[in-house]
Symmetry: C2
Subunit: 118 residues, 2 copies
């Protein structure tokens, strides 16, 4: 059975676009107004807002309207989910490489691999 | 200007699917035959091979045909690119929170914030 994990699906999909990653990069150093986020991007304001909507639906950012300005801030806990998934994979293959290394070293040292037989 | 970074685009896109993540999870503990990777997935072998193609195009896995068996292995360096991008964001916002914390503490201690004025 597949773990559907819709959060990770939406999260990785949200990060698979350079404009959306640029927004997350900008927001990592602090909140920003929507117009400020959109300005450096080579696209119209409505297009930038669509990208922002994808980030918001994935839980990566939150926006709040104060007066006439909508301010966007990053949601670190969501990005941490992606980090945790990748870290777990790395720990698995590093553990496997460690076991392989130990095994090769034991062969090099001429150790006996028959358990319990002296 | 946007950094197009096609590698990160393809990489995050490849991870945005539960079947492809399941394959990466399996491969983290060691190489596997294509048929072994496909077996637990609720889809046909051709569908599973399409997902495998997406992972291979993203550089996340490599496959090698030996005799009649195609064996797939993970490419840790590629997954590390995604990890590095996320880590860099986290370091930025943690540095920002540290500065904010230092500032609040200095206010609490009644320190003078006018530079050079005694």
């Amino acid at each position: 059975m597949l773990n559907q994990a819709p959060d990770l699906d939406r999260l990785f999909h949200a990060l698979a676009d350079p404009a959306r990653r640029a927004m997350v990069e900008r927001l990592s150093s602090g909140p920003a107004a929507v117009s400020e986020l959109a300005r450096p991007l080579p696209m119209s304001l409505p297009s930038a807002m669509q990208h922002l909507g994808v980030l918001e639906a994935a839980g990566l950012v939150r926006s709040e309207k104060i007066g006439r300005v909508r301010t966007v801030s990053i949601q670190p806990a969501t990005l941490r989910l992606a980090e945790q998934w990748i870290n777990a994979r790395r720990q698995e293959w590093e553990a496997r490489l460690d076991r392989l290394g130990d095994y090769l070293k034991s062969i090099e040292n001429g150790e006996d691999h028959d358990d319990g037989v002296d």
